[in-house]
Amino acid sequence: MSGCNAQAIIDAQLDLTIEQVRERMQPYTARVAELQRRYAMKRGVLLQALWLIQEEFGWVPRIGIKWAAEVSDVSPVHAYGVAEFYTMYRKAPMGRFLIQVCEGMCCQLKGANDLIAHLEQALGIHAGDTTEDGLFTVLRVQCLAACGNGPSVLINDEFLYGPGELNEHQEGWSPSAADLDRWIERLRKEAEAKPQPDKVDSLGDIMLDTKGHPGSDGASGAPLPKDYAPPPPALKVKAESQGSAITVSCLCAPEITEASVERSTDGGTTWAAIGTIDVVKTPGVPGPPGGPKTPSYTDEIAVGSTAAYRIVAREAEREARPSAVAEVTAAAVSDDGEEGGKA
């Protein structure tokens, strides 16, 4: 969490009961239900639930943390520990406009410190504090992933990285002190015109009617059928001759249970199964047990003749489409031991 000094945090806590918070969070019911569908366990909702609290209150009061714990099915202290871990949850109220300036290495190179100093002077506060009128808070933050436009500046949740509106990006543009003055002016006017700020959807407008994670509370999503993808054919089929002995090898998926070797002597018009190939896992191949297999099969053909091989793999009952074809001519082993032809 980020925020202010210890006393301010304690002073800020709200005198609300959990029932009152539940009441106040009623408008969020649809989003909460959607979130609860999305994870295998409700616990996954926690970070998002804390966001919703911040959306409603503008910060994360402790009683709100209890609500977040409830909807995420975790203990309150778990939720508290988590809320305290992340810097973006605010421990106490902040100004209406939170100006965050990156103090990372790239932005410092681009004068982030000067820009922050300028802001401090223009607003009459130190970084970390809020102006007396409650309008502006300035924070120094870590890299905002906009280094190309450094010093990176966020106004509330929107990037200032172009001369136009917020979030309008212009390559290589950097905010100057004058740009910030202009924005402060503009935001002040905005506050005058609209005393009550609009709420910004803290989850970025999620879909509300997905079917959810199969099996989760309130979800209707069906699990994947086991065989939605075609069975895997054998890959990288090779046939190599050692004289009349032909070694046919290939790469098989771990799920392959059986593979038969087919041979064609008429250039691939007709195929005959000549045997099955042992698909136990080969040691030395990366991956856990159940990783790919590289089985091989040995055939015998007359020296000088040519044969084509392909492999038809099966995954239980399902037959994969035949592999690519490897052709080989059995070459005589020459005296100097040089090996025969390859596919």
Partner: protein, 434 residues
């Protein structure tokens, strides 16, 4: 940007390229049809392996090899989690990608999801990137409406849901197991390995975590074949990569270039170095800094930078010129790691902050003789002694800066009013703790 090299960036400059309509005009989702559904999972995995695609999140682990270790057929749900927690100082490519071309990411996720038996996928986006989250949600809605997501995608038997998960401010959540913890509703603290997440990750199910950019390369690879991807790059670092360049450079921004490009050539492409080059951080703040000589000889690929005991990392390049003081560049870096330590393990939790305080003292002109060595030694003590590499990254930054730019550090000590302090006495004081 060179015209020949637009695996990832073809839509970056296209107006409204982030909308489904425009993206489709440029070929988006062409793979989501027979091109994908007629392939077996294994073929897809082997294709990715053959393409040589390596993880773009920092570690550079071959994506196909990682995919191979996912137990797809165990009957447990497999999750695909996209790491969009981009926070490595200097890196801004993923944000850029999500903003300019969210559909390429979604298309890549459909491919990866299909290959890995994924029914539910998440995009974990940094909390600070709300505008990009909005854009992703918008794109997802378009896809659901067009039958590209949800149940029975495009009439196939494959179903996939993608959800965006908003982080809440913690760099360490970029580490894949911390990211999983954060997704699960815990503090973003890295887990002990083994088990590796591909075997037991989110909710104890197999989970494949991939970077945004890694996944965005998939549609192109599926369309053009693995060998075509190898037309760029080197044997062991094939393909193209997005580099975010900032610092003392003419035109900072995101560039897609083939891996293996000489660093100086890349600088020229990006508008040339402002002033005279002094050094460069080649792969985000975690990558040890290079001095000028090293910059002049090195190429932008995993092996060349590894050989210099640095790394390509996330592809965040930050050259700096001779007007800069390396000490002042290291200062925010050391502070960054102290601030972002998750607080789980001792050396990182206490050590990075301690080192930072010693360093602050040096920078403040109150350093004492021996402080620079002590700073270096503290860093050495949290290198490789921790759960995750965050502390090691800090140690690398500190050690590389101190050893390559030692004289700059010593200047601070020389100028210090307290350098003549009775350092020895302080050293000999028995344990201040008993």
């Amino acid at each position: 940007m060179t015209a020949a090299c637009t695996v990832l960036s073809d839509l970056f400059a296209v107006e409204n390229g982030h909308t489904l309509e425009v993206a489709r005009k440029h070929g988006a989702y062409e793979t989501v049809g027979p091109m994908l559904f007629d392939k077996s999972q294994f073929e897809l995995i082997e294709w990715v392996l053959d393409s040589g695609l390596r993880g773009r999140g920092g570690a550079g682990f071959p994506t196909g090899l990682k995919w191979r270790t996912v137990p797809r057929k165990m009957g447990k749900p497999v999750y695909l989690v996209i790491n969009a927690d981009e926070g490595e100082p200097g890196t801004f490519k993923d944000r850029f990608c999500m903003e300019k071309d969210p559909h390429k990411l979604i298309e890549g996720m459909i491919i990866a999801g299909f290959a890995l038996n994924v029914r539910t996928a998440y995009i974990y986006v940094r909390g600070e990137m709300l505008p990009q989250i909005r854009r992703l949600n918008e794109a997802l809605k378009e896809c659901y409406a067009a039958g590209l997501l949800g149940e029975n995608i495009q009439g196939s038997r494959y179903s996939l849901d993608i959800y965006v998960h908003r982080g809440a401010g913690a760099y360490i959540c970029g580490e894949e197991t911390a990211l999983i913890n954060s997704l699960e509703g815990y503090k973003g603290q890295p887990r002990l390995k083994p088990p590796f997440p591909t075997v037991s990750g989110a909710f104890a199910n197999p989970t494949c975590v991939n970077n945004v950019e890694t996944i965005m390369a998939l549609p192109w690879i599926l369309k053009n074949g693995p060998q075509a991807y190898r037309q760029w790059g080197t044997e062991r670092s094939p393909g193209t990569k997005l580099f975010s360049i900032s610092g003392d450079i003419g035109k900072p921004g995101v560039y897609e270039i083939p891996l293996g490009m000489p660093m100086l050539e890349f600088f020229d492409l990006a508008g040339g170095v402002d002033g005279e080059l002094l050094g460069c951080i080649p792969g985000g703040s975690s990558a040890p800094v290079l001095n000028k000589e090293e910059c002049e000889t090195c190429t932008m690929d995993y092996e060349a930078l590894g050989a210099l005991k640095s790394m390509l990392g996330s592809g965040a390049v930050m050259p700096f010129n001779t007007t800069r003081d390396p000490v002042r560049i290291l200062e925010p870096i050391a502070h960054f790691y102290a601030h972002e330590s998750c607080g789980q393990c001792t050396p990182c939790r206490e050590g990075t902050g301690y080192a930072d305080r010693v360093f602050q003292r040096i920078v403040a002109g109150e350093g004492r003789a021996g402080d620079v060595d002590m700073f270096f030694d503290l860093a050495a003590n949290f290198e490789w002694t921790t759960i995750c590499p965050l502390a090691t990254a800090d140690a690398w930054a500190i050690k590389s800066f101190v050893s390559k730019f030692r004289e700059h550090f010593d200047k601070y000590i020389d100028a210090s009013s307290r350098k003549a302090d009775e350092r020895e006495l302080a050293d000999l004081r028995p344990g201040g703790f008993m």
